[in-house]
Amino acid sequence: MNLGSDRLAPRLLLAVACTTMLCLLVIALFIFKEGLPFMVKVGLGDFLLSSDWRPDSGHFGILPMIVSSLWVTFGALLIGAPLGIAGAVFLAEFAPQGLMRVVKPAIELLSGIPSVVYGFIGVMVLAPFIRSAAGGPGLSILAAAIVLGVMILPTVMAIAIDALRSVPQSYREGALALGATKWQSVRMVVLVAARSGLLAGVILGMGRAIGETMAVIMVAGNAVKMPLSALDSARTLTANIALEMGYATGMHRQALFATGIVLFLVIMILNGLAGAALKRGSLKRRARGR
């Protein structure tokens, strides 16, 4: 009986693992099946490089959405990554244990707040503030970047804390023994040793930012045009799909699936770039170590 279940368990787990893979495969296949014919029909140039999105009259240019998605994502990283890493450094290296026990669960709770709540606060508080302080419609790339920056904070911070904690204590002791101050040991030794973990946190945060839909629809204003400044209203790739999928038919529907393909590829490219940066960083470190 016991032996039987012992043999059964790995197979069952394998089957479950395969289901996950299968889901990914089926989703990818479905999106490509629906979207690729459209891309071929319209032509990549008219789809990716045109900024004229009027589905009713057969214009399907998504360049403004690609640019907006990138702007919003990088804006969110600009806000979320430094704050998250700085907070993690403080909590992991400088804060007393008692504080850590209170703050860490609080951060984890922050990641449990639904995105619609973030969006709501963005609409009610942030957008009017931006409008009165900086001008423009308020519902803007800046508002979306700030909301997303706060949203990715828990992800970046939690992973950064784990990365900093996994740096062996002996590194710190070594640095201190060589006469480094606490800050010098953190800056020159701990942060460098934890670099790949920190970057992993930022990549995960980036994934969350570019894929976020609800909060962005609420605070970005969704105007279909090329954003010229951070105060302009903009529509991201995800918002475009979510806003129009409900009623799109025919070519328009295919165009939204094609938008999904582009989103898929953009995420893969960004992840690939980050992965490559990670690899190069660790190679360099190894070379220097030798």
Partner: protein, 297 residues
Amino acid sequence: MTFPSLRPSLETRRVPAFAVSLLCCLLALGCRGREGSVTLAGSTAFQPFAEKLAEEYDDAHPEVNVTVQGGGSALGISAALNGAAQIGMADLVELPPDASALVATVVARDGIAVVVNPKNRIAEISMPKLRAVYMGKIRNWKELGGGDAPITVVSRESGSGTRSSFESILGRFDLTSDAIIQDSNGTIRETVANDGNAIGYLSYGLVNEKIRSVEVDGVPCSSENILAGSYRLVRPIYLLTLGAPRGTPKGFIDYVLGPAGQASIVADGLLPAPRGAASPAGGVSDAPAPGPEGGAR
């Protein structure tokens, strides 16, 4: 020796069993009374009214379960066509060609109020100027007699019945690409209420004290003016069915067209169906979607 190790496995086995039985109960609940269930989907302008009507109808007919979903008029049309909903809700001046397979019943009429922030001084706008604002040709309140501030144009997503009616009454045009797009009447209201320079449009029944509706061509948006036909931004609200309504959906549509339903519609700020359609017998128009209502224009 075996007992302690057996116990947790028994307990863990009980959890899925519990979940399965719970799921069965939920499924059974869901199936109960499926015979008498009606789903409405579509227009977000009519959605709150439909929800209230559904509640009233449920009270009078406990055996029938009416579900109301939003999604926009275009979704209402496609849901009625593919059977996702027995009744589609649409608030379009012109129904698209693919809706010709559906039977459209006018159950109410609705004015489209042009709204600004209460802080805005402007009292009136002409239809050509309104069109120019939405095309992006007029970009400053100064040109409309207001203060020197840029206009924030707020519009609906392109599947919206309110937007398509608004655009076809003003004369088809390409919306300015600067327009902020919101996907429901409620979010339009919030956006205009929060932005002193915004202009938007929404269902007359949903205007509240946080925003102010302006006169169009010198005519205030009010029930009297809409009924009299002098206020021109008006669209009919259709309930769409695949084929003439039968059975439970017909019961609900008849209720909406009946005195109680119409009274409830009027009480909440919509306008009653045109007189000819108000009686349940005459409510079902066999002809595919009529064009703009005579009385509304």
